[in-house]
């Protein structure tokens, strides 16, 4: 049997059983749509946590007795670290100035206070490409051991909480994904079974004239391939349209500016389409097992 005959039969079947094919494609599409929305949510949360962690950075407080001539060498030492992107020195006076700005109308409480009562510090921005919570913790621990350093501070507690939260979301997405996958597999297989059942007599006749299993099954597999491909592409298209819509809102909103929402990475997009195609093709092969018996 040539590929041309197989494709011609598949397209002829698609035309003749358009409604059934459309229903199966919509079922696939809806399942993938829900799954893709959760995946989009998960990736944006992960992206947000990573970015927040990187932006929080480290603050290295120096001991009060650190000589001023040690500052440039400490600066050099910090900028030499591979994890460090940018280092800013904040003197005691600058820190005091920031505190005054922060207190605004209540800055009178600082009256009579020595402007050097706050320790000098280095604000470190971490290299985003190298950002990992573990590595940041490690770095903070290493810097903390330097004799001139009194304390290293970073939003560990917040980052830890966010990581636990994103881990929870990942688990939820995985569970929902699996449930949706089983539901989609069940619904798709049964929709195909119904289609096959409705065409049982036709398949019996085709078998009687000497059709091989590939002749009988081939068009169904081509149809399943197209259903998987079109269903998942449609769902991802809808998710992408929503993503662009949110991007538009983000650009216009002062509150959301800088959130930088991201789309599902292309590797995952390809994996979703491939899984959908595989699901439909395997579902069809399983649904047709009985029809291929003599």
């Amino acid at each position: 049997m040539t590929l041309a005959i197989l494709c011609r039969r598949a397209f002829s079947d698609l035309r003749q059983n358009f409604c059934a094919q459309l229903i199966t494609t919509m079922v696939v599409s809806l399942s993938i749509l829900i799954f893709a929305f959760f995946t989009l949510l998960y990736f944006n949360l992960q992206h947000f946590v990573d970015r927040l962690g990187a932006e929080l950075g480290l603050v290295v407080f120096l001991s009060e007795d650190t000589p001023k001539d040690r500052i440039p060498s400490l600066y050099q030492k910090l900028t030499g670290l591979s994890e460090v992107e940018k280092v800013t020195y904040i003197s005691s006076e600058e820190a005091f100035g920031r505190l005054e700005k922060f207190l605004k109308d209540e800055k009178e409480v600082l009256e009579g206070v020595d402007p050097r009562f706050l320790p000098p510090s280095f604000e470190i921005q971490v290299n985003r490409a190298m950002f990992q919570l573990k590595r940041i913790k490690q770095l903070a621990g290493e810097i903390d051991k330097w004799p001139e350093v009194s304390k290293v501070q970073f939003g560990q507690e917040w980052i830890d909480r966010l990581y636990v939260f994103s881990g929870l979301v990942r688990t939820i997405v995985a569970i929902i994904g699996l449930l949706l996958l089983f539901t989609a597999a069940f619904v798709v297989t049964n929709t195909i079974k119904l289609t096959v059942y409705a065409r049982q007599e036709e398949l019996k006749i085709i078998r009687l004239v000497g059709a091989t299993n590939i002749f009988i099954q081939g068009p169904f597999l081509v149809e399943a391939f197209l259903q998987g491909l079109m269903g998942s592409s449609l769902a991802l298209g809808v998710v992408f349209a929503c993503f662009r819509f949110f991007q538009g809102i983000e650009a216009k909103s002062e509150l959301l500016r800088g959130v930088n929402i991201c789309f599902i990475p292309w590797q995952y997009t390809v994996a979703i389409i491939a899984s959908s195609v595989l699901l439909c093709v395997l579902g069809t092969a399983l649904a047709m097992r009985r029809s291929l018996r003599l």
Binding site: Q16, E201, I205, T212
Partner: protein, 224 residues
């Protein structure tokens, strides 16, 4: 004396039973020679259809051995069955046409499965439809035709790939006398061109004045 060499169909001690108290036939020995036209008759439920179904591998015998065109059916794997079926044209009483296919496409099915080129297939389909008098109705659907016409389409589909054996299971059961005669004539023509034909019928009138061999199935046994 039964011999595999001279016969196109051979059954040796063939039995078919669905359960201990549902025995269709047992101990059947039968030989049909190449180019023969035989009538297979017997009352309803005698096992005529079952025998034909065994010959085109829709069912397997419970015991015994069957040879079709030199092939031992018991040694035939499921994957090999379609290739045997291409040598056999089957005609049914209920026509078994695909109602959502045109007449042309119904007949084309037999050629599609063997992968015949489009041009060659078209030529052969038109030739066969002309032969059965339906050349003007290629784009009609089966339900737009009369019973006799539908049976002629079924015959066209069964013979278009030039099978060496034709199994006709009560092909005239749903037809009036005139249409029945037309079908018999078509069968005679196909036989004259070399096809071996087994014509199952319970209607004695069809072979009353014939010189053809009549195989009678009765109470699960053959009476010649």
């Amino acid at each position: 004396m039964i011999s595999i060499e001279s016969s196109i169909i051979l059954l040796k001690d063939v039995s078919k039973k669905y359960s201990t108290d549902n025995v269709v036939f047992s101990g059947i020995d039968l030989e049909i020679e190449k180019g023969e036209f035989v009538f297979l008759t017997g009352p309803s439920g005698a096992g005529k259809s079952t025998m034909l179904r065994i010959l085109f591998c829709a069912e397997r015998p419970t015991s015994g051995e069957v040879w079709v065109d030199g092939v031992t059916l018991s040694s035939l794997s499921n994957a090999q069955v379609p290739y045997l079926r291409r040598k056999i044209g089957v005609i049914f009483q209920d026509f078994k046409l695909l109602s959502n296919y045109t007449i042309f496409d119904n007949v084309a099915l037999s050629l599609e499965v063997i992968g015949l080129g489009k041009k060659q297939a078209e030529q052969r389909i038109m030739q066969i439809l002309e032969g059965v008098g339906l050349a003007g109705k290629t784009s009609h659907y089966p339900l737009q035709l009369s019973g006799g016409e539908q049976q002629r389409v079924a015959i066209a589909r069964a013979v278009v790939n030039r099978p060496s054996i034709i199994l006709a299971d009560e092909p005239t059961g749903n037809l009036d006398l005139q249409r029945t005669e037309e079908v018999i004539m078509l069968m005679e023509e196909l036989n004259a061109r070399g096809a071996t034909i087994i014509f199952a019928t319970h209607d004695d009138r069809l072979f009353e004045n014939t010189h053809r061999r009549v195989i009678r199935l009765f109470n699960g046994r053959i009476r010649i």
